[in-house]
Amino acid sequence: MNLLDKNNKDTVESIAGTIFLVLGIVNIAFVLLICIYLIIAGLPAIGKIGIIDFLFGTKWASTAAEPKFGILPFILTSIYGTAGAIVIGLPLGFFSALYLAKIASHKVRITVEPLIDLLAGIPSVVYGFIGMLVLVPAIRSIFDLPDGASLFAAIIVLAVMILPSIIKVSITALEAVPEEYELGSLALGANEIETYCRVVVPAAKSGIAAAVVLGVGRAIGEAMAVMMVAGNAANMPSLFESVRFLTTAVASEMSYSSGLQREALFSIALVLFVFIMLINAVLNVLLKRGGVKRK
């Protein structure tokens, strides 16, 4: 047999290779297309309004006779809302993960884990719906407010929504810690809790940081659920006031917008996009450092 002969297999191989290449390029093209379109659509309004007035203006009045396009209230609301969700969701999610990965019996774990997956699968409109019907009235009566739709309600809904990703990624990070560390600590006479706190968790810290960033990405990009519970008024953020997020600012006006208002909405989307790109970059660095695979 002549080893240089080509046969059918090579042809099939090269056709398959080409198909995969084309499909891969289509994928990347979508990302690039969105990216380029957002920049083209978003930049002009920023130019017209002025980048300082746009990013740091505290008043948004897009339909007023003398319109104002300051999106600082949205930026801050998105940041505060996300930070609040992390402050509540991280300890809750992290300790659940520690419990499930290390302490819970096998039986408990196989019962609870599918439920967490289910939590991740619930559509955000359902979260918003429950938030509207249960959480908002509860906040109104507990804190004696005229209206319960507020930043606080949004924070709680977001905290619950990011729980599954925080729990899942933290479990993966905790399980990636070699068992030898645990055995080494126990063999020195340390008890289990001490071993988790002083050896296992520090060894998993970059994976846990990745969980936080993933949670941040989820929370900052969420629109539907927060729109339903946050009241949606373009106020500067305050815990018990009605607020509007970057996402909801785009979603709530897009249907009836025109002219500069419409262009400004694209600019908001661009700002949100930049935020998410940054978060993703941080996430990738953390995951690489932690050696934890993204799921």
């Binding site: 560390y181 080494g184 600590s185 126990l186 063999a187 006479g189 340390a190 050896v199």
Partner: protein, 251 residues
């Protein structure tokens, strides 16, 4: 001689699998006892019983008696954390924690409540000296322990075990992952440590057992076939199976 561990009619099961049958032996103070035998003979299982690390495996069942300095440790409500402080362990694969050399050594003492900085410094230095690794590492105490070579990591792990001032050291094939030079350093160290500690060492390497141990126990398929002075075992084994094993006919 004083007896450290007194093992009587000890049995162990993994679920339905009867892994150790009726083990009887005495481990003496300030001696090195080697446990030899082919893979799966139960020697590692046995050593992990001596500091109750087997507790971590849910399906393990024990019967019989093992007394550590007169106190029953099988199926008794002892404080296992205290037992493990007294009976330290060094593992097959060097397992330093992902922290600095200093923090690795200080981990045990801190766990047992020592917070005083100068006291910790003293313990760290003494442990590293006792493990014959202080001179190599004294300028690198703040560096990560993961940057050390395998042999250095293993001696660091020995130093870490010494830092809680144990009475007994259990070593589960401590040199099987190391090169010959690191191995001979560890062997020298173990001989040195015998003055102050009682040592039980699992080894696959029969020359190692001959070189360092005072007593040798030969395990086969869950039975303790023979337990005697090392020279006796290797020169005039009483049991045919021991002879076959040490002359390399199987295993």
């Amino acid at each position: 001689m004083e007896t450290i561990f007194d093992v009587e009619n000890f049995n162990l099961w993994y679920g339905e699998n009867h892994a150790l049958h009726n083990i009887n032996m005495q481990i003496e103070k300030n001696s090195i006892t080697a446990l030899i035998g082919p893979s799966g003979c139960g020697k590692s299982t046995f050593i992990k019983t001596l500091n109750r690390m087997n507790d971590l495996i849910p399906s393990v069942r024990l019967s019989g008696s093992i007394k550590y300095r007169g106190q029953e440790i099988v199926n008794s409500k002892i404080n296992v954390y205290n037992l493990r402080k007294e009976v330290g362990m060094v593992f097959q694969k060097p397992n330093p924690f992902p922290m600095s050399i200093y923090d690795n050594i200080a981990y045990g003492p801190r766990t047992h409540g020592i917070k005083n900085k100068s006291q910790l410094n003293e313990i760290v230095e003494k442990s590293l000296r006792d493990a014959a690794i202080f001179d190599e590492l004294k300028d690198r105490l703040k560096d990560s322990a993961l940057g050390l070579s395998g042999g250095q990591q293993q001696r660091l792990c020995i130093a870490r075990a010494l830092a809680v001032k144990p009475d007994v050291l259990l070593m589960d094939e401590p040199t099987s992952a190391l090169d010959p030079i690191s191995t001979s350093k560890i062997e020298e160290l173990v001989l040195e440590l015998k003055k102050n500690y009682s040592i039980v060492i699992v080894t696959h390497n029969m020359q190692q057992a001959v070189r360092i141990s005072d007593y040798t126990a030969f395990f086969l398929l869950g039975d303790l076939v023979e337990f005697d002075k090392t020279d006796k075992i290797f020169s005039q084994p009483a049991d045919k199976r021991t002879e076959d094993y040490i002359t390399g006919r199987f295993g």
